[in-house]
Structures are given as C-alpha cells and as structure tokens.
C-alpha cells in the first residue's frame, strides 16, 4: 500500500501544540495524561471520567480480547495501555505526530504496546487490525485553506484506509469535536494561529458523507456538555498549578492555555461546537459511489 499525501496538519503543526512539554501537560491533565473529552456519565472525578471514555471506545470498537488494535492519534498512550492491561489485547499500535508523546510511551515499556511517529496516511501495517480507535485526532485531518471537496476527499481517504485495515464487520470508534451551531467562517483566528494551526473541524454531515458506502454509523452521541465540563476542570487544575506552569513554559503560554480552555468551555456550553462519539462498522461489500 503506497503512502498518501497527508491531507491534514503537518508534523510541525502538531508538535507546535502537543510538544510544548510533557511536564506542563502533567500539571493539569489527569494522571493518565488523557487530552480529550471525558465521559462524565455517573462519574465525578476527571480520572474516572477519562477511564470511562477510554472504556467506551474499547467497547464500541470491539477491541476487547482482540489480537491487534490500532489507535490513531494516541496521545500519551492511555488507551494503548488500557487495551493491553485490562482489555486483553495482545498488540496495541499507536500513531502520533508528536515526538514527545512517542518518547513518553516508549519510556513506559508497556508490554504489547508499539508507538510510531507517523500519520495515518503514511501507515502501512504488515497485517490488518481487528479494531480501530481514534479520539481527538480527526480535528487535525483537514485544514482551513482546503476547498470543501478537498476536505471531504481527505476524510474519505482516512475512512478508506480504516476500511482496508479492518476485517469484515470490524469497527472504528471515532471521537471528534465538530461544528454545530457555527461554521468554518467562525473558526477563531486565535485558535488557528496560536492554538491549533493547520486544523479544521468536521461537520457531522461531512463525516457521514465521507464514510458513506464504506462504513455504517451504528451509534452516535453528541456529548458537548461533557467537553464543557472537561475544559473547565482542566482550566481549574491549570490555575491551581499556575506558578509551576509559568516556570515550565512561561507566563504568555499559560495565559494562552487559560484563555483557550475558557473559550472552549463556552463553545461547548452554548452549542457552537459539538463533541461527537461515533461507532462505525465496516460495510463488507461497499457499492461504488457515483
């Protein structure tokens, strides 16, 4: 299988945000360093809500007890660790473009966990996967300067690859932020230049369109209020450790993160943005799209 051109954020753009320093993220994320929306159903600590989110994706992807599972955009490896530690998975492979995340995972020496600094578009596994999870990465699979057609085609390339890697009936559990009561024109220049460069959000209709005739959507949740709560919890923790954070990354960066987390909470609270959790099942004999 040949590599595709990566349609989304470059490695440099990803590293701009995620490689600011593991010690900095360690100050305000939960112990597992999970940097995506938690699942708060019946939980009142960030730690428990993040584990519930990871377990949700393990169940929805059908990963439990499988041999080979892929995590696209694996962060600091919390899901990979959970897969091999409690879900009985033999081999969990993670893809990230952030070198500090990869180094952190490699340092843990978790048996059965393998991490690669690689985009999904360059990934060429020797064997297929039994299940795929992707959480908080899809937001980096398109860029603001792409045409609507290019954006959909980039997403479709991603779904095509996942389709190729899964067995008949195999599932992809996907979590992503989305435009809801807003559109591309509302993407804040502050976020585009200072927080998440070279990134764009999908609309639900774009995900549905790009995965059509490759996957069927089995379940869908919009948990935007869960992300408002997660963002506010992260901000509260960051402010509690502000002095240490400033010593690590400087006052300007801390102010930037404080502002972004606060603005995010508003966006999810008011419904400007959504938080989608989708279970997609591979179609075995996809018809050609016309």
């Amino acid at each position: 299988m040949s590599a595709l051109a990566n349609p989304g954020a470059s490695a440099q753009a990803i590293q701009f945000h995620y490689d600011i320093g593991n010690s900095f993220y360690n100050l305000w994320l939960d112990r597992s360093l999970t940097y995506s929306c938690a699942l708060w159903d019946g939980h009142d600590t960030l730690e428990a809500a993040q584990m519930a989110k990871i377990d949700h994706h393990i169940e929805k992807s059908g990963a439990r007890g499988q041999r080979r599972v892929l995590d696209i955009g694996c962060g600091w490896g919390a899901t990979l660790h959970r897969l091999v530690q409690t879900a009985g998975v033999v081999q969990a492979t993670g893809l990230t473009l952030a070198t500090q995340q990869s180094a952190y995972i490699a340092q843990q020496e978790w048996p059965g966990v393998d991490v690669r600094v690689e985009s999904w578009s360059d990934h060429s596994p020797a064997m297929p996967y039994d299940a795929i999870i992707s959480v908080g990465a899809f937001e980096h699979f398109a860029k603001l300067d792409q045409s609507p057609e290019e954006k959909i085609e980039g997403y479709r390339g991603f779904f095509r690859r996942c389709h190729e890697w899964l067995p008949p009936g195999g599932c992809l559990s996907l979590q992503t932020m989305s435009y809801e009561n807003s559109s591309r024109e509302d993407f804040s220049p502050f976020f585009a230049s200072q927080i998440f460069p070279e990134s764009d959000l999908p609309r639900l209709s774009e995900i549905a369109g790009a995965s059509e005739h490759l996957f069927e959507i089995v379940s869908l949740r919009n948990d935007r209020h869960h992300y408002a709560r997660t963002s506010l919890e992260w901000r509260r923790r960051l402010l509690q450790r502000r002095a240490e954070a400033v010593a690590l990354v400087g006052a300007e960066a801390v102010a930037r993160y404080d502002k972004y987390l606060h603005l995010w909470a508003i966006g999810f609270h008011t419904g400007t943005m959504g938080l989608l959790r989708l279970q997609l099942r591979k179609l075995e004999t996809p018809r050609r799209l016309h």
């Binding site: 408002a228 606060h262 508003i266 609270h269």
Partner: protein, 92 residues
C-alpha cells in the same frame, strides 16, 4: 427581591459594561441580554475573570450564558455567595 449584595454586583457590572461600551453606566440596561451589547465569548471570559477577582471567587465564563443579563447574573451570584464562601472556607 433585591438584596444589597445583588445591588452592589449590579452596579459593579453596569460600571464594567459601560466602560467596555464607552457609555455612562446609568444608560446600561440591566435587563438586556449581554449579546445585545455585542459582547462575544472573548469579552465574556474577560468579564467573568474580572468579576471573579472582584468577588474573590472563581467564576466560569459559562455562568454568563446561563444568566444572560446584569440583573439575572447579579441575582444568581448574590444567591450563591454564601455557598461559595462556605466552599472556599472548606478548601482553606
């Protein structure tokens, strides 16, 4: 019913909004929605941080969207002040 504390918060917010909009505080309509004044999410963050510092308690900007006028927000904050003080005391 309006308490003294609610009045104080209302006056402080009317001063702040008046300053942002460059208009006298007595002309700020305390029952108008914040978004009618053109206050966007960045302004909501600034207002919540400044108000939190003024009241000596941590405020999330989302509260501005749940109580979207000066009057409603002041009433809510006055009503919850005691609980917030008790929580702050418990954290000490």
């Amino acid at each position: 019913m309006s308490t003294q504390q609610q009045q104080d918060i209302e006056n402080w917010l009317a001063d702040l909004i008046g300053e942002i909009l460059e208009m006298p505080p007595q002309e700020v309509d305390r029952t108008a929605r914040f978004d009618r004044y053109g206050l966007d999410s960045v302004a909501a963050v600034s207002v919540s941080v400044a108000l939190g510092e003024h009241l000596g308690r941590e405020l999330d900007a989302t509260v501005i969207y749940d109580y979207p006028t000066i009057r409603k927000l002041s009433q809510h904050l006055a009503e919850t002040a005691k609980a917030a003080e008790a929580a702050a005391e418990a954290q000490r």
